[in-house]
């Protein structure tokens, strides 16, 4: 089930130079799983902007977004007290009922946010969660402490080595303890490299340009081993054994 709602912005602050955290207050009952996303209407923009849900509770949704273009720049200017028209309940989200005891969560850049509520749930379920967070450089790192505060073991990798392991998330895999399952979200090259580097089952979250975000336009389709799927509806999370790497 999905729904449109008007949400009040209760916080909107920079986490790094161009990455912001926004907290929205409103109806959260249609959110059913970590890894789902919201679709945000913006003044002057025809299409909504899809952003992953980083965390949510009974009355708030936290999203973390990077300013990359006109739409996200508009979001960056928004002030607490303002309102946003948002669609919630979108996407399948991560399946946490996999029986994993030692999951590895891998996030790259703004692929990190959806892993936060996932880590929270897995830890609440008694799993020993390892998190690898990949960024370009130390000044871009966010949420490492927040994941640690949940009780996850956190490894940071930066491409220039200015913080944590030098290199990509795949370079950090050697330094993490054993894992039996992998969840990941991040840019396509990261997911592809990770897919080749790990040999346990898992779920990866993907991005695609969207027309609607709720399954109405077929704009976001991809081919999988289980047939065509809409990233916005049957995704954004795919099981690693159904992904077709093109």
């Amino acid at each position: 089930m999905y729904k449109r709602g008007i949400y009040r912005i209760v916080a909107n602050e920079a986490l790094t130079g161009n990455v912001y955290r926004m907290v929205l207050e409103g109806d959260t009952q249609y959110i059913t799983a970590p890894g789902q996303f919201v679709n945000v209407e913006l003044p002057g923009k025809f299409l909504r902007r899809p952003i992953s849900i980083c965390d949510y509770d009974g009355r708030t949704i936290t999203i973390i977004y990077k300013v990359v273009g006109e739409g996200t720049a508009i979001m960056g200017e928004m002030k607490p007290g303002g309102e946003l028209d948002v669609l919630t309940g979108l996407g399948n989200g991560f399946d946490t009922a996999t029986g994993t005891r030692r999951p590895l969560l891998v996030g790259g850049g703004v692929g990190v946010p959806p892993l936060y509520n996932l880590a929270k749930r897995l830890i609440a379920g008694g799993a020993a969660v390892n998190v690898v967070l990949g960024f370009n450089t130390a000044s871009e790192v966010f949420y490492a402490d927040e994941f640690a505060a949940l009780g996850a073991t956190v490894t940071v990798a930066t491409a220039d080595g200015s913080r944590g392991v030098k290199g990509f998330v795949t370079d950090a895999l050697k330094s993490v303890p054993e894992y039996d399952y992998v969840y990941a979200c991040g840019p396509m090259p990261m997911l592809r490299a990770l897919g080749g580097a790990v040999n346990v089952p898992g779920q990866f979250s993907f991005e695609e340009r969207m027309g609607c975000g709720f399954g109405g336009c077929m704009g976001c389709s991809c081919k999988t081993k289980n047939g065509n799927k809409r990233i916005c509806k049957e995704g954004p999370v795919l099981r690693t054994d159904e992904i077709i790497w093109e």
């Binding site: 299409l47 609607c212 336009c217």
Partner: protein
């Protein structure tokens, strides 16, 4: 929100229209490709309030469509290059129609596409026996693969040929859906009418493109795609006006409609019913909001029966 006065007047307004013998409660119809087969929108609201809806363009074989990215944003609109992704006519008849029956009780508009005359004929023949289908809408904006890929809708002769061929295999009303990417829309609409079309839907999307300034490459994987949304409304309105003036068959106006006022304007230009496309994607409640706003807008404009204003701009 509403005053008592408006409510009383609203009850007296008549929104119904008739398309080739099919009575619609109101003229608002989600356009093909922007409403799937209804189920996704039925999660937002009871879609039985719609006049009807035109389901996703269906071809003989299942299609994945074009490579992604196939969506681009524009000022007051969007470009799509979905490329007719659909499960194919067999799956539409055996799976989508029964599923649709659970969320939509009214007659639906079957949007059919093809890459050869034979394909149009086969699909229209298949859908002819489906009681849920009230009207067949034939999308002639597709390339004719047997004749150099030129779209059927760009030449009067080929539009005539498709119309004639599908009319021979169905007893349902046939509406030809025309492409605006032509020099003389009237000659194509007239050819369809001569071939026996029961009505015309126009317009489909306008060919457009965008370039990503950062990557310096086209946004759409296929370079070009179909531009639609509020930005194209004046073009669509002009074509509806021209075609409705030149033909004796009903016109479904489509292109850029985003409000009750747009619906009224389209009808004044000559449309008997009005389709809403891209706006459904931005606001899934767009058609519901338009239908709910119509009575008040009519009252404000002194309109009692909506069908009385069809083509009134010409008189």
């Amino acid at each position: 929100m509403q005053t008592e006065n408006v409510n009383t007047t609203a009850r007296e307004t008549d929104l119904s229209v008739e398309l080739s013998g099919l009575r619609l409660d109101n003229p608002v119809i989600p356009a093909s490709g922007t409403f799937g087969f209804g189920a996704e929108f039925a999660e937002f609201y009871d879609i039985n309030i719609l006049g009807s809806f035109s389901f996703k363009g269906t071809t003989k074989e299942p299609r994945f469509g074009n490579p992604t990215p196939r969506i681009a944003e524009c000022t007051e609109g969007m470009i799509n290059a979905v490329g007719l992704q659909n499960p194919g006519i067999d799956a539409v008849v055996s799976q989508e129609l029964p599923r649709m029956a659970k969320v939509f009780r009214k007659p639906v508009i079957a949007n059919i596409s093809g890459f050869s005359v034979e394909e149009y004929v086969e699909c229209c023949g298949r859908i002819d026996s489906e009681p849920q289908v009230g009207i067949i809408e034939v999308n002639v904006s597709c390339p004719n693969v047997k004749h150099g890929g030129m779209s059927f809708g760009t030449r009067p002769e080929s539009a005539y040929e498709v119309t004639k061929a599908v009319k021979a295999v169905t007893t349902k009303p046939v509406y030809m859906k025309l492409s605006p990417n032509v020099t003389d829309i009237v000659s194509i609409a007239r050819a369809c009418e001569e071939a026996g079309a029961d009505g015309i839907t126009l317009i489909n999307t306008m060919l457009g493109m965008r370039i990503d300034l950062r990557t310096r490459k086209p946004v759409i994987a296929n370079t070009m795609g179909g531009f639609s949304g509020p930005a194209i409304f004046p073009v669509a309105l002009r074509m509806v006006y021209q075609v409705a003036g030149a033909c004796g068959i009903p016109v479904m106006g489509c292109g850029g409609v985003s409000s009750a006022r747009d619906v009224i304007e389209m009808m004044m230009a000559g449309a008997t019913a009005v389709q809403v496309g891209a706006m459904n994607l931005r606001n899934p409640y767009a058609c519901k909001e338009i239908i709910e706003a119509l009575p008040q807008e009519m009252e404000r404009l002194g309109i009692t029966r909506l069908r009385d204003i069809i083509g009134i701009a010409r008189n």
